[in-house]
Symmetry: D3
Subunit: 332 residues, 6 copies
């Protein structure tokens, strides 16, 4: 069996108000499942890359629905563990025009937040792994989650599995008594590909600066195992109109992808995860950095046209967009 | 301004799978708001009785939606307090035929569970109250909720406000270290009208027996301020077909209402609260016990035809059903 | 071209609350179009009988939608006239269980209520007519509508076109200063087949009595052109469970059809019109009275399973039900 | 209790075709409630300003639904009166792209059109009023409505309550035999803040001109109690793309707000009422004219992103848009 | 009875994923009916032009639904024939943003593909015809369909009925062993108005070139009965944003219409048929070529705002757009 | 890895009219995927039994959706093969009351119908199989499908895998020139557990008789490898009300299960497959015949309450129903 990209992280039920409705207008909510890391696995599986996800879920029908969501997209669920607690949730109000999208998180006390070292057999997981991906959300959730994340990174390093980390600093999390700077440096130390913006780096590593390239250079100087650092730049004209492009610092040069003009945005949640999946795809395929960055940016752009947290674009669709062929033309 | 019936308790968002779908089939959830005690206030307001509800809600748009739900039905919300925590939820899978309805509760760590004595100005509340109603769900949630419930009952007694209590023992709650028998007796001591089944009484007061009348007699002997004890008897042929009637022990005799044959059930959640509202309505109108019981049972029967947690029947509709006129006939 | 059954009457937009919702819960309404007489034409057209409808509609897109509704079902619309006023509406709350269905009419000041003699070329209409059908709703709407109804019946009689009339007395209409007894007798005088219950007859002809056969006998004695009088008997156990059968007094004997036990009712609006269409079908096909009555009753029974105002059953489906074959069995 | 902004006017049920459907494609209609003046009260209540609405409604479940709509948004309904007639309606076909939105009004013969002087206790109303707002729609509906509007303005003036009037000339109304120029001048005479475009002023006051500032100057010269006159300027590129900005003539200078580029329009109905509510908010908060105008224009802009007739934006959201911060950015 | 525009061709059920969903996300499909030629008839009927359609349908309820679809829009269905086979289908995934719309055709083995010469009484059809329209889809489906198309064109020519043909070359069809160049030339020989792009002409007539005018000139030289050749030029910025304009070669000059900037596209399927219907409308009304082209292009532009395969714009709406009046402005 | 139950057969997209609508009323269709044999695998997987399915699908997004449907329910899809043709479909009109459900099949020319021997590696499949199940639908589809079915049964017998066959004779299939009696006997010869009604046996084996036990006895006499023959008996009172029980002839005795009174039927499609899955479950668990039959009948009964083709009941739910505990009672 082919080795898989493994991700670790919480999956939540997303309850979104249909169309352009506001929270106080909702009489129904649309339910999908998503989590930053699992979204990466689903997107990679849609790209034809074997993928698996590790998490902890409640042992009720909501947890079962999460497993079915992953299986539907052929993401391996064999290493998921179960507990008695609740499924994390988030409520989404889609923005439109000048009105921003809003999220009400309801993820505390979830089954995932009670994950503990020893619950996952990381040796078994990493034996079949081609890559390991984590994000800064996991260590922000609980001490247990931080510990398990560290446990996973260490196992990956021990098994020679490449590690990517999306720093994704979220101020509203980190409520269990630790600060990002207490925890993140040691996790970054085991990471080979890092995704981070300038404020993520400041908040997690304490490295400040206004120039992305110089800040990245300093990070790599202090963490020489890091091969490159990348990020998406998003220009928000309105909730319905953004422009995005990707940037990647390869240790010496700051590469930049084509910019996409995203009008008529359908769903921007998970666009960063689609970018991430595109990067991993490029690296696994041994694309050069520029080609990888273009693939990731086009993947990210396409995600904005797709409902739900997960990118459903295929490799062929991403490549067609990069080539600029048939963009938006009816395919019979 | 007319004095109001006041209820105290948690309100949750109910997320139900549409029609006959199962949890694992859900792509949307229908959202309504309900809680046993608030449902009584809404039903009474629909009967034309001034009503208010006291609770603690999260200070976000979900909490705001609860307030708007109550206001829509003209339930006074002036004494509601707000906090930082979450809104309690429950997920509902409607049953049908031989397949039972199922609920997944997700109500722990709610804003209501953090309610504390002193947060509500009960003197102000009871000054304007014509009646106070509580249920056994509240003291089961947290020590704080139990304390506030006691505080409310004592204030009611002090202000000469009649108190009703729906014992409603729920084994899955009561997780804060106390047992129902530690807490409930002192609350029942301040209560004048009690709604309880034979197992509720055993679990909360430790009084056992197989004969409802004798058990009730013993309860009243020990709690002589109780005027009567009532209950709905439900015969479940299937999820779509139940039979119900109400019983009431008036201290010496066990009265029984007409039985309703409930085929084609639409929504049975909140039927007990509709029964409760019917009882309070009868007592406030100084109906005799039999007439009160018939009103409550017809109110309960009609609730089964109404979507959501709250009874939307009017007094006229309840009375028409009691008279057996035009049952189900098209009204032009 | 084959001659058509012609009906005259108002068509309204029906706005119904979805599923089991109550008026105050509605956030959407389902829109269909219906009117007692037009429903008969649509049902007959579905039975393969050429049919046309005459009415007056507003000259806006709602009136256009009504025309499209009729055309969809191949009902001739060539003699419809248009005016500036509004489309009549009615709001429907489906009943369920013990809770009755309710209608809020909003049909006053409609384009139809302003219909006037001379607007319809009845000679042209009756030239192509095989049958003319009217109901007691039309003369109740306005003096103009009553006059046009009389005009039509007279034209039918002049052209030798058979006339049926569904008396259908509605107390809430008749607000233009005339009483049913002022108007109806002269319309009934031109009618050959009459559909009426015992109270319709009392309200419109002033003939009282408790025995349907004797009352009908008296009607026929006074209106000897009437061939027979029929009616559906409905026993309403609940909104979801009725029993119906048809009766027909043929001048000497009271015939009765098979009774249908109608559980799980979907939509009972228009069931009387489906019965009426079945009668006209039988009479046009020169079935004997008993066979005609069975056809009409089965047509009426099937309508209860069909959403909307109009019966969509085919002749084959009606006949299969009469034979009792395959009732409810999956047809692959 | 805090004094309230009081509005007077008709509330209609709006029945809109879902999404981009045309009238003749509709199988369902979405139902919301709205009226120009009530929309102002709801918007102000959402801004935290105590508000009440005065109207006349049918005493059926549709009238009840209107009351529940207002109560949901905490708008006082104590002075609403009821009658036997119908609820006014309007049907809306959303436009999109080059295809304009279209409205079919069905509001004649409504309960509101039968309102008469003496039905409302204006002394009681104005005792608790901080502001009174009317529009030119009310006097256009019927003589009774015009009389009640005048009665209200006079009561406001008597009680020293500030009066605003949105002239909003609608040619299709004014069918009861009076012309706007017969009625409007005396209403404007009691008004302190006027909202009007150049053609409104011509149609209602007979003052012509091509230059907005000079026309306004002439209005104020003739009506010196008027403090300022304002208006929204809308540039319609397509149904999906407008540009708007507000203008205000303060007696000497024509102020202009920031212009908003409104692509991807969700619902433009009620945008003028959102502008109006923003003006009243600014004036009540004693903002200067420019700040008031900016608040009103941003309120108006945000309304275009919100489904239904009423603005659900909060003060915080309006202020964030004015500042240009986080426009359209995801708020976690 | 007025003579009608007659079209010949297959009608399919279109099953489209709601909103922006992808095929693999679909839990429901929206069903409409469409076919290039029938769409032209429906659009013309909406323009007030008598129209009829000839096709072959399965004799089941899906075929019946197609007939009802045409009748709803007043398209004559008297010459439709029926068979035992299936209804052709196509599945549509709406595109959005950079993601293109996609179609999965499922039209092989349809009842239409089994149409044979002799099944349609073309003499009867052409007797009542004012115009005959065909497309290059029909001869691509099967030998029988090609033969019937030829039979129809010959009958039209015999009866002096003008013929238009939309070449519309579809490579994926043409699977019955013939090439377009075997079949199309003889059909074009009987055609007076031709709609074709440069690649259609190459694929069907073997005439190559880069300059549209010269290619058209060569076509007309070889087919001197052709009066003009036209086409829509579409510039696809994204699935949500296109620009279109029409071109027409009148034998000597290449005319060009106004260009429409189509942002916020609702549904582009059938836009070519709306253009076609606009051309036929102009020619029937004896508009000059430029006016005809402007009418067709505006008709085409409006179609993009309308859900489904068929254009529902009226002549008044098309003319208003051409004049540039009220584009997108709310019409009360 | 645990050995799996393997099924072989076609999976179709089912397009059903929502709620109680008729085909001609449909504007949307609900899409699920099902096929008699795959439904058995899904049901068994829901019972916790490893299961896989073998089929041939079109290599487009509809085929992909089928694979995702199976994976969601953890059914192994590794041996599915793909081709260029279409996905079989069926259209379903739900029946209600006296109106029967109706199916329009559109399954000819599907990718499955082009399956050929040699396409599936049956040795590999049977190596991991614990059981093989086929139905009489497969050999009815095409010669290729019949050949592959035979190939599978022979491979199963060769590998010592137990074989069950649901005879399920469908007259409308069998259109490729062979009769059931030509093909079925040799397939039955390799089958150990047979599900068949009396007419299935007559049509496929030519054994006639009125007594089920004697007919079964004769079948077993001629096919001594058959261990038992079972069937569900269905009594259809209406489309909404059936009664069912299972029967099983064990070679000497006819066993009968408890009868279930099925009122308020939600969806009866796939009930036979739920029965089948229950039988296989019982046999795999080595239940005795009576217990197996009770499990199968309760599984069948529960399916009627579940939307879609597949049974979603768990073992616990089936066992609870058998015990008669909590039937239809709300489970909190």
């Amino acid at each position: 069996m082919a080795k898989s990209v493994i991700t670790l992280g919480e999956i939540m039920m997303r309850l979104s108000v249909p169309a352009n409705g506001r929270f106080t207008q909702a009489t129904t909510f649309q339910a999908v499942y998503g989590g930053s890391e699992a979204n990466v696995s689903v997107a990679l599986s849609n790209f034809g890359i074997p993928a698996g996800h590790v998490t902890r879920l409640p042992s009720n029908d909501l947890g079962k629905s999460v497993v079915q969501h992953l299986r539907k997209y052929n993401v391996n669920t064999d290493h998921i563990v179960f507990g008695d607690e609740r499924l994390g949730l988030y409520f989404l109000e889609n923005g439109s025009m000048q009105r921003p999208p809003r999220i009400i998180y309801d993820r505390f006390h979830s089954a995932f937040s009670f994950i503990k070292p020893g619950q996952i057999d990381w040796n078994a997981v990493m034996n079949d792994a081609s890559w390991f991906h984590w994000t800064g959300i996991t260590p922000a959730i609980s001490q247990g989650a931080a510990d398990v994340c560290k446990e996973a990174i260490e196992a990956a390093n021990k098994h020679g599995v490449t590690v990517s980390g999306d720093i994704n600093y979220r101020r509203n999390l980190w409520q269990y008594g630790k600060d990002a700077r207490d925890i993140m440096p040691s996790l970054i130390r085991g990471t080979h590909y890092m995704i981070a913006g300038i404020s993520d780096i400041e908040n997690c590593l304490g490295i400040k600066g206004n120039d992305y390239a110089s800040v990245c250079k300093e990070v790599i100087n202090k963490n020489p195992q890091i091969k490159n650092i990348s990020f998406t730049h998003r220009d928000t004209i309105s909730a319905s109109h953004n422009k995005i492009h990707g940037v990647l610092f390869d240790g010496s040069t700051l590469l930049s992808s084509k910019e996409y003009d995203l009008t008529h945005i359908v769903d921007r949640v998970g666009a960063g995860d689609a970018f991430m999946a595109g990067l991993i795809y490029g690296w696994l395929k041994r694309y050069d950095d520029q080609k990888t960055l273009e693939f990731a940016s086009a993947s990210c752009a396409l995600k904005h046209s797709i409902e739900g947290d997960v990118n459903l674009a295929t490799v062929e669709e991403v490549e067609t967009l990069i080539k600029g062929e048939n963009t938006g033309k009816l395919l019979r």
